[in-house]
Amino acid sequence: MTMPSHVDMQPAFILHARAWRESSQILEVFCRDHGRIGVVARGARRARSRWAGHLRAFLPLSMSWSGRGGLCTLRSAEPTARSLEVTGMRLMAGFYLNELIMKFLERGDAHPELFAWYVQTLEQLAQDHDTEAVLRRFEVTLLREVGYGLNLTHDAVDHQPLDPEQTYQFVIEQGAVPVGAGQSGQLVFSGADILAIGSGVYSDQRKLHSAKRLLRVVLDHYLGGRPLKTRQVLASMRRCV
């Protein structure tokens, strides 16, 4: 879908902002109907900016802008609800989501379903959900939305439903291949663990750990060597505390 040259009142979130020229900002925006776009907010860094503190990540916004291709120009940005109140160290999980979207979505590709899932994910982060489980569910959805969906229900050889008791080797770009029970390795999982990753329901820590192991390898594969900066920063924060 080509983007019109004027977009009005589009539900949107700011993923990231960086300083631009003397007093402006370039915003990476994730919006419902046009996906990821780049928008210039003129004067956003002035003390008395007309955007008045609204240009924050995790704040549901209604945005209007002009221009298409390359950078658009922000015309208005109004909060549509209270901030989703992602606070404290949970902000780190939010930054991670934002980086995933920036790395996996091409500019201008619409992903309305992923947008809805992003809103839900932020709501869960704001509540008392297990952060790790929330992130794993988002990663699985993101991969599916951008065309790298994982087969987490059937085996890749004879296409039978996964057996929770069986051991599988997960082969990237193919799926779960049955192996002997004594097998071990980075991508060897029980059928039950793979099914849990597919359903997003994690009944114990082991399943969650398996999910992290699998998704890390799969995400890294599709990132093709580009590092996730939020992951690196989080690792060095963990070394401190």
């Binding site: 901030s83 404290g88 505390v241």
Partner: protein, 200 residues
């Protein structure tokens, strides 16, 4: 254009200053060359001496001309209260308010995970060293009210907690003398959320 190579280089150099674009750089350069060559020489000396003579305080990372800055060096400050700020400009602003008698720690930035800015860049090792010294009774978080500033505050509060140092956060709200109707909605909702009991 009739700029000589040296003049061109001067214009380019002046443009590194905030607020100085091509036009302003030109005005500054022509002024110094035409009317105030002595002023220009004084500027060169002062700049050179400042760049060579000013480093960072080894205790708080504020600008310092010795190994320790004047605030850390003086006996008159309360060394048991540590206020964590993002920039030297924040220290100057709090000092101007004349409301604080403790000492500081300057992060020289804030956590910005998407830009790859983490604890190492903020001198957290030095901060940890101070927290583990046992001298500090309260840590005040005075990072900015941005999402990155909040993540930074949460992280440092965690550090303080792991060293059994209580952490407080400065209040955010309606400016003194400000009319409520002109306060932006974000600030207002924060101010209402963090309301305090009123001793009339």
């Amino acid at each position: 254009m009739s700029f000589t190579p040296l003049l061109q280089r001067l214009l380019a150099a002046l443009s590194c200053l905030p607020g100085v674009g091509q036009k302003t750089a030109q005005r500054m350069a022509l002024h110094l060359l035409e009317k105030d060559r002595d002023g220009g020489r004084t500027l060169v000396e002062a700049l050179d001496e400042a760049l060579n003579g000013i480093g960072l305080c080894e205790r708080c990372r504020m600008f310092a001309e010795n190994s320790v800055c004047p605030i850390c060096a003086t006996e008159r400050r309360d060394k048991s209260i540590l206020c964590v700020v993002e920039t030297p400009a924040d220290v100057i602003a709090i000092e101007d308010s004349a409301s604080y008698s403790g000492v500081y720690f300057v992060l020289l930035g804030r956590l910005s995970p998407l830009d790859g800015i983490g604890p190492e860049e903020l001198g957290v090792e030095i901060l940890e060293h101070r927290l583990s010294g046992g001298e500090i009774r309260e840590l005040i978080l005075a990072t900015s009210a941005t999402v990155e500033g909040e993540a930074t505050a949460a992280f440092i509060a965690g550090l303080a907690h792991s060293h059994n140092v209580p952490a407080t956060r400065i209040a955010h709200g309606v400016p003194v003398g400000g009319e409520l109707e002109y306060v932006d909605s974000g600030t207002l909702s924060r101010a209402i959320g963090a309301r305090t009991s009123f001793e009339g």
